[in-house]
Structure formats: structure tokens, C-alpha cells
Assembly symmetry: C2
Homo-oligomer: 174 residues x 2
Amino acid sequence: MNLTTTETKFILHWGEMGTRWGINRTVAQVHALLYIAGRPVPADEIAQTLSVARSNVSTSLRELQGWGLVKASHVLGDRRDHFETMQDVWAMFKLVATERKRREIDPTLGVLKEAIAQAEKSGEKATREKLAQMLEFFETVTEAFEEFVKMSPGALKKVVKYGGKLQKLLGVGT
Amino acid sequence: MNLTTTETKFILHWGEMGTRWGINRTVAQVHALLYIAGRPVPADEIAQTLSVARSNVSTSLRELQGWGLVKASHVLGDRRDHFETMQDVWAMFKLVATERKRREIDPTLGVLKEAIAQAEKSGEKATREKLAQMLEFFETVTEAFEEFVKMSPGALKKVVKYGGKLQKLLGVGT
DNA sequence: CCGTTCTTTCTGTAAGAAGTGAAACATCGG
DNA sequence: CCGATGTTTCACTTCTTACAGAAAGAACGG
């Protein structure tokens, strides 16, 4: 697959973004490539296009499949696995966000709850209080987030549009 | 400073969380420590408590100050700088989120816009369209996010509480 | 000023993550 | 069942980042 300069620029940037958010550069690049391609691509073609080892692509694809971002598909007359990603950006985001919540936020909630119980038992009042505040924050944001990802993009846009008014309606200041 | 097991557990977990989100482990630990301490702490005490090099603490504090999360303060009769972090979790979150948006999302919007213009010029219709969708997504989410951080925690809770009803009110499905 | 205390910068080392290529493994057609 | 094709796993290398410790740099007290 031959990339135009535009496509290359996008893929490289996407890779950088990935690293900043704790996602492997190659993984992010593979995903970007599949998004741009918009069709099932065989692994070796990905490797060639991105100039990375075939094995590296294999690992990255497995990772992406683990996130539910990529699925394997097949093309008639071709034994090779092909891979494609969803073309709906909002759906992509939901997947990743939900999965990260599950993998990272939920365990954090657990740790906080445990720590609070422990602090309670050993009479560490100040620490207990701080952890409780943190827990409350996480719980609120988590719930808000869950409402958020339930929305359709259209709904989201309306909420943004009327956001200020809604806040007034609810009688809460900024 | 002597940490209880509860505090240690929290600080270690916070460090891990940091690494998963592209934040240096020590930086995150220092921040957690200051949050738990809830009072100005001198750098050498931080180093001792976390068992890291004094220089490492210095770098981490500088980083945290860059995020606006930590500020230096002074204690009468002590020449050493002391450092403290805000105790309001919501405020902390706002700071970090806003700053990350500035450092990472905004440049991404720029790259996308450039790439779209370029794709337009060179007639890459499909690519242009995909990038445009991505840009639209980012813009919508960014706006939503801006409404979000404007809210007080109280407002947020109400929105969560009435979230479903609001969506119905707006006539948008899930 | 000069010694003391505290802070930051810098350089080398160590730890960790990412990536390659070879080898093992699987699948399929004939 | 065997050769061909495609995929994954694994051991090793490379690259990056984090960290420690030394040295340099400030700030202050006397």
C-alpha cells in the first residue's frame, strides 16, 4: 500500500499521540493505517507499508483485537487474514474509553475502597477523609462518563449547544 | 515522614496509574504524597519518604509545578522550599485535563486541519473525508469537555442524576 | 565576603519497553 | 501425509526513558 504524504503525516502523528497516552506507537500506527485504508488489509501489507517487522504487526493486531478495535476478515481467494477497523470515530472512542475505564478506573475504585476501609480501621482520620474525597470524585466522574458514552453524537452536540442553558435550568452555577 | 501501609498502598497505586497514562511514576508518587500530606513538605523529606534521589524529586516537582499542580511555599524559620498541592480533587482534575487538552488535543486539531487542506488540494477524496470525520469528532468532544469542566461538582452530580431525562427532553435517543 | 545550606543541572548507568528475525506452530491444498 | 503458505511465539538487540550521584549554582547568615 502506498501512502500519500498526507496519510503518512496523519499516521505518524497518531503514533505519537498513542505514546503520550500509554499506547504503543506501532499499535497506534497500525490502527491509523487501517482507519485510513477503510478496507481489510493483510498483515504483511501493513508491515510493508509501515516498515516494521511482520511479527510486530502481529502483536499489534492482537492488541487491537483485544480492545475490540480491529477484527479479522477474509477475502475470497486469499488465504491470508485481513484486518479492518470500524470507520465510526465515535464508536472507536466509546470502545477505548469504556475499556480503559474497566481496566484502570475500576481497579482504582477498588484500591480506594480498600484503603478507606483500612484507614478507617486504623483510625487514620485525615487520610481516610482525603481518600474518600478522591473516591467520590472518581465515582461522580465515572457516572458522568457513562451518561456521556450513552449519547449519540447528535445528542452530544445538542447537549453542548444547550449546555449553558441546562445548567441554568438546573439552578447550578458555573 | 512516615507512611502508614494505607498511604503507601495509595501512593504506589497512583504511581502505577500515572505510568499507564503517560505520566512519570515518580512524578505521580510525589503528587500523591503531597496530596496525602496535606501540608507543605520540603523536598528532601519527599525524597526520603519515597526513597528516591533528591535530584529526582527536584525534577518531579518542577514538572508538577509546570502543570500548576504544585506550588512552593515557605515555613517560618526554615530556609528550605516546601511544596504543597491543592486538596480539591476536582480542581486538580480540571487543571490536568485542561493542560493535556492544550498540549495534545489542540496540536492534533491543527494537524488534522492541515492534513484535510492538503488532502483537499491533492484530490484525495476518501482520505479527506475520513480525516474530516475525525476532526469533527475531536471538535465535538472538545466542546463537550469544555462545558464539562465548567461545571461545579454539584452541577455535575445533578446532570448525572437527570441525565437520562435531559436526553429525552432534547428528543435524542441513546 | 566566606562558609553553610539548599536546589538544580548534568552525565553516566540501569531498567524497561519496543522491535526484529528466526524458529516453532498451524492450516490448507493437493 | 507432505510441501507450501501464513501466523505466532520467543530470545535477543536496540532504543528510550528514568534515575542516581556528582558537580555546579544560588541564596542566605554571620
